[in-house]
């Protein structure tokens, strides 16, 4: 039996990698991929606690996270296509019309 702490730390490591990717990468699709990494880290934590406590609710919540991830990917990628069509670039630093 693997201790719960190992899973929690693995989840934390993956989440931090996702955060780093979100702030360091400049390609908007890479930002969406980083969000997927973070969501997966949270999923792992949910499942680890569900297994530890012997309750199924944690695994049901992973489903909802999955649905939100799918919706986010669909809308996000549609936005990416619209952005590329208008600005011919995916660099988030170059779409700065709303920046002061």
């Amino acid at each position: 039996m693997i201790p719960l702490n190992w899973y929690l730390i693995l989840g934390a490591v993956l989440f931090v990698i996702g955060v780093l990717g979100f702030f360091l990468k400049r390609n908007i699709i890479a930002l969406l991929l980083s969000v997927e990494i973070m969501l997966n880290a949270v999923n792992l934590t949910f499942v680890a606690f569900s297994s530890q406590r012997g309750q199924i609710s944690g695994q049901v919540f992973v489903f909802f996270v999955l649905v939100v991830a799918a919706a986010e990917a669909a809308v996000g990628l549609a936005l990416v296509i619209a952005m590329y069509r208008n600005r011919e670039t995916l660099n988030v630093d170059r779409s700065n019309l709303l920046k002061w």
Binding site: M1, I2, N5, Y7, L8, I9, L10, A12, V13, F15, V16, I17, L20, G21, F23, L24, R26, N27, I29, A30, L33, S34, E36, I37, N40, L44, V47, A48, S50, S51, Q52, R53, G54, Q55, I56, S57, Q59, V60, V62, F63, V67, V68, A69, A70, A71, A73, A74, V75, L77, A78, L79, V80, I81, A82, R85, N86, T89, L90, N91, D93
Partner: protein
């Protein structure tokens, strides 16, 4: 034995996640993320969440990532151009700050109050999950369908030609 499996798949997941950040071309990042998702599904099996492991491969690695790869290939992107110059020094600041965030997260997780360990192991079979989904979580489940419908319409509107 099970510890070896855990370490193997944990190392695979972390390595693939780091590779997502390191790769210059976003297509390779997406392919590396698929490796990470598969490793996560193996970890779900180690946690006896069998159904979630299957769903992880079918929905995440199968459907969502295919959508990503499809869009990347549709746009036919060049390699990553580097960001504006004024942001370059931020990269060297980002990694220590990320390690600091990791340190904080680990310290918090270490000191958090643990739930009591329940000996009765559950395995996440489709039957158990479906029963819970259609009794206790029926309302969130129906709300989910509305969310997907709205996302679908939003994606169609955004991808229209004359936005």
């Amino acid at each position: 034995m099970i510890e070896i499996l855990f370490f193997f798949f944990a190392a695979l997941a972390v390595g693939a996640a780091i590779n997502v950040l390191v790769q210059k071309h976003v297509l390779y990042s997406a392919l590396s993320l698929i490796v990470m998702l598969t490793a996560m599904s193996a970890l779900f099996i180690l946690l006896q969440a069998d159904f979630l492991a299957v769903i992880q491969v079918i929905v995440y690695a199968g459907a969502i990532m295919v959508l990503f790869v499809f869009v990347i290939m549709l746009l036919n992107l060049p390699e990553d151009e580097d960001g504006a110059d004024r942001l370059r020094w931020l990269k060297f600041l980002g990694i220590p700050l990320g390690l600091f965030l990791l340190f904080l997260a680990v310290v918090t997780l270490w000191n958090v109050e643990r739930p009591e360990v329940v000996e009765a192991q559950i395995s996440g079979t489709p039957e158990l999950i479906g029963r819970s989904l259609f009794t206790d979580y029926l309302l969130p489940f129906e709300a989910t369908s509305l969310l997907i419908l709205i996302a679908l319409m939003g994606a169609v509107v955004f991808a229209k030609k004359d936005l």
